[in-house]
């Protein structure tokens, strides 16, 4: 190995360490993490929206060919929502692009991720995994601060 080769190896190492530290910092400081997987339990597979306290909600989302249940959700501004995701047939995706919330619904598994809705508006949920011929119609929406409706 000559000096140029040693330099490029050191450079590579530094870059990768910077990337890794950034990733770990995002996890620790800003709590930006991957979905959490939960041991399978049938009680999560029944679709429902539960209000835990003023700002905290739990939603059990059931995905199926080719819809989500519940398909329309209303929350007040500032709501923190835990989504528990399951599938009753094939594999689906659950993507809220505006929130960077990205999960797979896999039969036999329960997935969990949390989003905080600080801005009013309509948040689109798109199924982003091919799930059969009606896949392109599979979506849902979250409406934040819709006039007094829940």
């Amino acid at each position: 190995m000559d000096k140029y080769e040693l330099r490029i190896l050191a450079f590579t190492g530094v870059i990768l360490v910077i990337f890794l530290v950034s990733v770990l910092r995002a996890v620790n400081k800003y709590a930006i993490d991957l979905p959490e997987c939960i041991p399978y339990d049938e009680s999560f597979t029944e679709p429902q929206i539960k209000q835990i306290d003023d700002n905290l909600y739990q939603v059990f989302v059931k995905s199926q060919m080719w819809s989500f249940e519940p398909s329309e959700m209303y929350f007040p501004v500032g709501a923190e929502v835990d989504f528990y995701l399951s599938s009753s047939d094939v594999v689906h995706g659950f993507h809220i692009a505006q929130k960077g919330l990205n999960m797979m619904a896999v039969p036999g598994g329960i997935n969990k991720a949390t989003a905080k809705f600080d801005e009013p508006g309509v948040y689109e949920i798109v199924c982003h995994e091919y799930c059969g011929s009606g896949h392109q119609h599979m979506r849902a929406e979250i409406i934040v601060n819709y006039p007094n409706q829940q």
């Binding site: 991957l34 939960i38 797979m104 896949h135």
Partner: protein, 566 residues
């Protein structure tokens, strides 16, 4: 140096090269159509008797699995014979080819009849016709057989040449097929032990998270299986084509052995968004994925250094920073293969960097399963891999048939058009992905249909850019087929023999025994795989619920219910 070939060898190699190229015409046709469907220019489920998802399955299976596997085997035969100066075992070669062709035909029939619209990842519980699963498995098994024929050749050469360095292309070929052999075992298990009995109806349910993990154990190593034959060309042919020499031969050896260790135990980075695998294992495999970036960084340096040297060798002044990049023979029609390799290499800079984004743990949340993903991997598999394969196919066809390309100017411009088209196409896809466009979705029927309540005007621009890219790519592919067909119909002018560009090294270092031996590396490889995957399978066993029954992609009712009503 040249390798003379007899009739049977010529037939075998030409067959292996031409089967996937014929199918490629279908794969590329549906590539263009997908951009039209996605942008809303086609707003229907199918066009010209081909359903969107059926065509997408064909596009993925043909371009990413059939083309790459056939080429890796054909090129592997040629490299083993050429660089070891030995004959390949023709009997084994033919058995392997027949298995691969039968498998491909079975899968093709299943896909074309619309009974296997499950995409190239064939994720259950979507069910395909059993022939599809058998076909894909046979294709893999056929490629193993070819590899089994090369091992005795290597052993024999090694016994006769104990103190000589094994030629780098031989190391590359054997590393690649060792990875392939190990990574395809779990997917063969998934196909033959899980999916096949389940699709026939002998088994009622299967474990879905397990099947996905077995698939991705194979799925990411597959990426390197596509790429390593092209790396082989970068190391052993590109420097000479540019008029220079390879900067360092030991660097190449180290790179290939690093790939051997790290190509497989990183598959979980495709499953970051899934339940049943804990975050700790995801982070661990994310770090290992950074590790596999190291050999690519070394390659970037070594190849760039070799190309800079080639510019000096052709008279460009030494010591200037980037000027050498503009003095390379990009458009030299007498060495058209250079254009294919360098255009692929330029695309791969972006393909590799976006790959690092995908591997970066929680950053994956932003891009997973969005249009960003095909944007990324089209700059790898449809960048260096595709261009290397079609360029080398032209090159080998010329030599195997003893003919010469007449349309050399067009042949040289094909990769440049492709590169421009791919940069535009991938920009559209990646930008769309960041806006939330899903991948693998017939968006013209919903999100890109102005009549639909789901219409998303913010995605019009990005999908439009992919159409522009798609049209340019299609034009480039069309020109390639014109060059190839013209070549097939020219007269034979030369004798048939394989002559690869000579392999020369700038700093010819001493033989390092560690970099010339497979055993220690294979042991480390298996150790890392066990460490990275045993906890994952334990997670799945602990966290997963009941198994799943099969579903037809066209019907939300479980298959057993509506079939029994008929």
């Amino acid at each position: 140096m040249q390798l003379d070939i007899n009739k049977s060898e010529k037939r075998l190699l030409l067959l292996l090269l031409s089967v996937p190229i014929v199918l490629l015409s279908l794969g590329i046709y549906h590539g263009l159509l997908q951009t039209l469907y996605r942008s809303g220019m086609i707003s229907q489920a199918s066009f010209a008797a081909l359903d969107y998802y059926q065509g997408l399955t064909l596009h993925g299976v043909i371009n990413a699995i059939v083309l790459t596997t056939f080429f890796a085997v054909a090129f592997g035969h040629a490299c083993m014979a050429y660089y070891l100066k030995m004959k390949i075992n023709l009997k084994i070669g033919w058995i392997s080819a027949i298995l691969m062709i039968v498998g491909t035909l079975l899968a093709a029939i299943a896909m074309l009849s619309g009974e296997a619209s499950v995409l190239y990842t064939f994720y259950p519980p979507l069910k395909a016709h059993p022939a599809f699963y058998v076909g894909v498995a046979l294709l893999a098994v056929g490629s193993w057989v070819a590899f089994w024929g090369w091992i005795p050749m290597y052993r024999k050469w090694k016994n006769q040449n104990k103190e000589r360095k094994t030629p780098l292309p031989v190391i590359a070929t054997l590393v690649n097929f060792t990875i392939w052999q190990i990574c395809t075992l779990p997917v063969a298990y998934e196909l033959l032990v899980m999916l096949l009995p389940w699709s026939i109806g002998w088994v009622e349910t299967i474990n879905i998270p397990l099947s996905r993990t077995l698939f991705w154990f194979f799925g990411h190593a597959l990426v390197y299986f596509w790429l390593l034959p092209i790396y082989l060309m970068y190391y052993s042919m590109l420097p000479k084509l540019a008029g220079g020499k390879l900067y360092s031969d030991n660097a190449g050896r180290l790179v290939f052995f690093l790939f051997l260790i790290l190509s497989v135990p990183i598959g979980v980075h495709h499953q970051f968004g899934e339940p049943s695998i804990t975050r700790g294992m995801k982070l661990f495999q994310s770090i290992l994925t950074y590790g596999v970036a190291v050999p690519s960084f070394i390659t970037a340096f070594t190849i760039a250094a070799s190309l800079e040297y080639s510019s000096w060798a052709r008279g460009y002044r030494k010591g200037r920073w980037f000027g050498w990049m503009f003095r390379l023979p990009y458009f030299d029609k007498e060495r058209y293969l250079f254009a294919y390799l360098i255009c692929g290499l330029i695309l791969f800079i972006f393909g590799g960097l976006t790959g690092l984004v995908n591997a970066s743990y929680s950053l994956n949340n932003v891009v997973h399963n969005t249009a960003w993903m095909p944007g990324h991997f089209h700059m790898t598999v449809a960048g260096p891999v595709y261009l290397g394969i079609i360029g080398m196919t032209l090159y080998m066809y010329e030599q195997l048939s003893g003919k010469e390309i007449r349309l050399k100017r067009i042949a040289t411009i094909v990769p440049h058009i492709w590169m421009v088209g791919m940069l535009i196409f991938s920009t559209g896809l990646m930008a769309g992905g960041l806006l939330g466009e899903p991948r693998r979705t017939n968006m013209g029927m919903s999100y890109l249909d102005p009549e639909s309540p789901l219409f998303r005007p913010d995605w019009v621009m990005t999908t439009g850019i992919t159409v522009l890219g798609g049209v340019i790519l299609f034009a480039s592919a069309g020109l390639f087929f014109i060059v190839l067909i013209d070549l097939i119909f020219t007269k034979k002018t030369k004798e048939q023999a394989i002559r690869f560009p000579a392999y020369e090294v700038l700093h010819d270092e001493k033989r390092i025994p560690l970099l010339d031996s497979f055993k220690p590396w294979v042991v480390i490889m298996i150790f890392v795989i066990l460490v990275a995957y045993i906890p994952v399978f334990r997670d799945i066993a602990k966290l997963t619920g009941p198994g799943a029954k099969p579903f037809d992609p066209n019907n939300p009712t479980p298959l057993e219910l509506y079939e029994s009503n008929d």
